[in-house]
C-alpha cells in the first residue's frame, strides 16, 4: 500500500459508490472524495424503479439517496454524466470521458452491472427496453398506459415486478420465460408456482418454457416471435434476463476478475489500493464458504461500508446474511440467504392465504428463507441463516410454535 489516503476516487455513483462516500465522511475521513457517475442523476435507489416509481407514485427526487446539498456540505465532489474510461494502477490515475484525469490514493470501483441484451433480430427496435436506470423507466412509463400490450421477457424479479405494475395499470401483460418456472434462478419451485398463480389470477398470460426467436416490427416493436412461429403482439417489450458486471475497466487495468472483480472480505481487489463494491464485486460469501456476486441493495450498502472501513483502517461492520425484497401486487417477499445447494425445502403456512414462508435447508441447517407477507419468518430466518442454525423441519412447519420460540430454541 502506498502512504496514507488523501484522495479517494469512487467510480460509479450508484448505491454502493454513494454509500462508500457517505461512510467515509461518517467515519471522519477528511481528505478529498470524488464520486463519478455516468448517469445524469445523483446516487438514487434503484428498487422502486420497477415498483412505485414505475407505477407513478413517486417523483424522481424522492429516489435520491441524499439531497444534492449533502454533497456540497460534505465536500464530496459529485461528477455526474461523465464516465471513467481508463484506470492507471501504477500512475494512480483515472481518465474521464470528458478528457480530464483524476489522481487517487485509494480507488473504489462501484460500476455496477448492465442488463444483458438479447442478441436476437429486432432487439434494437423502438419499444424494446431494459429496466435499470431512471432514464429507462422514464421511457417505459410513457408506454405504460391502460389497454396497451406489454410483453415481459424473463420472469425474474425485475420482470415480474414490472408485470405486476403493468397489470395494475390496466395493461395487457404477457410474461415469456424460457425456464419451466418463474424466478428459477433466485427461488425454489414453491415460490415459483405461487407467483405464477398470482400473476395469472391478475390476468397476466404467463408462458413458461418458451423460446424467443426475435422481435417483430418496422421501426418500433409490434410483437415477439416465439420458436415455432407464433407471434405475441406487443406495444412494448421489457427484457429482464439478468445483468453482466461492468468490469471491463478493471480487466483492462490488470485487476483479477472472474464473473466480477475479485475482492477479499474487506472488498480489496488484487491491487492493495483498489476496492470494488456492489453488483460488480465477486466477493467471499462468508456464510456459505464460497464466493459470488450479489445483486442487491444489501450487498451495495455493505460493500460500500466495508470498503470505506478498510480505507480508514477502521473495524469492518458485521457482514450480514444476504437479504432482499420484492413487491408484487399486495405481496411483500422478503428473502434472507441464498437457496442454491438446498437439499430440503420446508413450507411454513399455506400459500393459499397469501402469507407463508419457504425455508431452504442443507444438511439440516437453514441456508435461506423466502417469506411472503411474513416478516417474523424473514427476521428470525435471517438470524437462523447467519447462525447456520439446525432446526427440525417438524418445528418449522408447526405454526403453533412462534418464530420467536423457534429462534430462541435454535440459538440456545
Amino acid at each position: 500500500m502506498s502512504g496514507a489516503a488523501q484522495r479517494i476516487v469512487i467510480i460509479g455513483a450508484g448505491q454502493a459508490g454513494g454509500q462508500a462516500a457517505y461512510s467515509l465522511r461518517l467515519g471522519g475521513f477528511a481528505g478529498e472524495i470524488t464520486l463519478v457517475g455516468d448517469e445524469a442523476a445523483p446516487p438514487y435507489q434503484r428498487p422502486p424503479l420497477s415498483k412505485a416509481y414505475l407505477k407513478g407514485e413517486l417523483e424522481a427526487e424522492r429516489l435520491f439517496l441524499k439531497p444534492l446539498a449533502y454533497y456540497d456540505e460534505h465536500r464530496i465532489a459529485l461528477v455526474t454524466g461523465d464516465a471513467v474510461t481508463a484506470i492507471d494502477l501504477d500512475g494512480h490515475e483515472v481518465t474521464l470521458a470528458s478528457g480530464g484525469k483524476l489522481g487517487w490514493d485509494r480507488l473504489v470501483i462501484a460500476t455496477g452491472a448492465r442488463p444483458r441484451k438479447l442478441a436476437l433480430p429486432g432487439a434494437d427496435l423502438q419499444g424494446v427496453s431494459e429496466l435499470r436506470t431512471l432514464a429507462d423507466v422514464d421511457v417505459i412509463k410513457r408506454a405504460a398506459v391502460a389497454g396497451a400490450r406489454l410483453a415481459v421477457v424473463g420472469a425474474g424479479y425485475i420482470g415480474l415486478e414490472a408485470a405486476a405494475v403493468g397489470a395494475q395499470l390496466g395493461m395487457k401483460v404477457t410474461v415469456l420465460e424460457a425456464m419451466p418456472q418463474v424466478l428459477s434462478r433466485v427461488a425454489g419451485p414453491e415460490i415459483g408456482a405461487f407467483y405464477t398463480r398470482i400473476h395469472r389470477e391478475a390476468g397476466t398470460d404467463v408462458r413458461l418454457g418458451v423460446r424467443i426467436e426475435g422481435f417483430e416490427g418496422v421501426g418500433s416493436v409490434s410483437g415477439v416471435r416465439l420458436a415455432g412461429g407464433e407471434i405475441v403482439p406487443a406495444d412494448f417489450v421489457l427484457v429482464g434476463v439478468g445483468v453482466l458486471p461492468n468490469m471491463e475497466l478493471a480487466l483492462e487495468a490488470g485487476l483479477v476478475c472472474g464473473n466480477g472483480i475479485v475482492v477479499d472480505e474487506a472488498m480489496r481487489t488484487s491491487h492493495p489500493d483498489v476496492f470494488a463494491a456492489g453488483d460488480v464485486a465477486w466477493r467471499p460469501l462468508v456464510h456459505y464458504g464460497r464466493e459470488g456476486r450479489l445483486e442487491s441493495v444489501h450487498n451495495a450498502i455493505e460493500g460500500g461500508k466495508l470498503a470505506a472501513a478498510a480505507i480508514m483502517g477502521m473495524p469492518p461492520p458485521q457482514i450480514e446474511a444476504p437479504w432482499f425484497w420484492s413487491d408484487q401486487f399486495d405481496l411483500k417477499l422478503q428473502t434472507a440467504g441464498l437457496w442454491t445447494g438446498a437439499d430440503q425445502t420446508v413450507v411454513r403456512g399455506d400459500p393459499g392465504t397469501r402469507a407463508f414462508a419457504v425455508f431452504y435447508l442443507k444438511e439440516g441447517r437453514i441456508i435461506a428463507v423466502d417469506a411472503v407477507n411474513s416478516p417474523p419468518e424473514f427476521v428470525v430466518g435471517k438470524k437462523l441463516v447467519a447462525a447456520k442454525a439446525k432446526v427440525a423441519p417438524a418445528e418449522l412447519v408447526d405454526k403453533s410454535i412462534s418464530m420467536k420460540d423457534i429462534g430462541a430454541r435454535a440459538s440456545s
Binding site: 435507489q45 428498487p47 422502486p48 415498483k51 424522492r62 429516489l63 439517496l65 441524499k66 439531497p67 446539498a69 449533502y70 456540505e73 441493495v297 444489501h298 450498502i301 461492520p317 458485521q318 437479504w323 425484497w325 413487491d327 411483500k332 422478503q334 407477507n373 411474513s374 416478516p375 417474523p376 427476521v379 428470525v380 420467536k404
Partner: protein, 106 residues
C-alpha cells in the same frame, strides 16, 4: 409546513420542515438528519428507520400496520412507542411531532 423534531440518542434536537405526504424517514434523509439508515428506502423491509414517537403524539400518529408491527416485534431495543419512520406520513396535524432515534439501527 409541519415541523418535525428529531432527537438523537445523545439528546441533540434537530427541527426541520416536513412536507405533507412525505414520510418521517424521507424527511430525515432530505435534511441530513443522522440516526436513520433506511437501507430499504422505505419499503418496510429492513427496520433500519426505527424511531420512538413522543407519547404526546402517539394517538395522532396511530398504530403500526400488521406488517410494520411484525417487523418491529423483532427489531432491537423496541419500546411501546416504537415505529418505523418510513411508515409515518406527514400531515398538518403532526406539526410539532417529536421522534427520538435509537443508538443504532443495526
Amino acid at each position: 409546513m409541519p415541523k418535525i423534531t428529531y432527537v438523537d440518542s445523545s439528546g441533540t434536537e434537530r427541527t426541520v420542515e416536513g412536507k405533507n405526504g412525505m414520510t418521517v424517514m424521507e424527511t430525515a434523509i432530505k435534511h441530513n438528519v443522522p440516526g436513520i439508515d433506511a437501507d430499504c428506502g422505505g419499503a418496510c423491509a429492513c427496520a433500519t428507520c426505527h424511531v420512538y414517537v413522543d407519547p404526546a403524539f402517539a394517538e395522532k400518529v396511530g398504530k403500526p400496520s400488521a406488517m410494520e408491527q411484525s417487523m418491529l416485534d423483532f427489531a432491537e431495543n423496541v419500546r411501546e412507542t416504537s415505529r418505523l419512520s418510513c411508515q409515518i406520513k406527514i400531515r398538518d396535524d403532526l406539526d410539532g411531532l417529536k421522534v427520538t432515534t435509537p443508538e443504532s439501527q443495526h
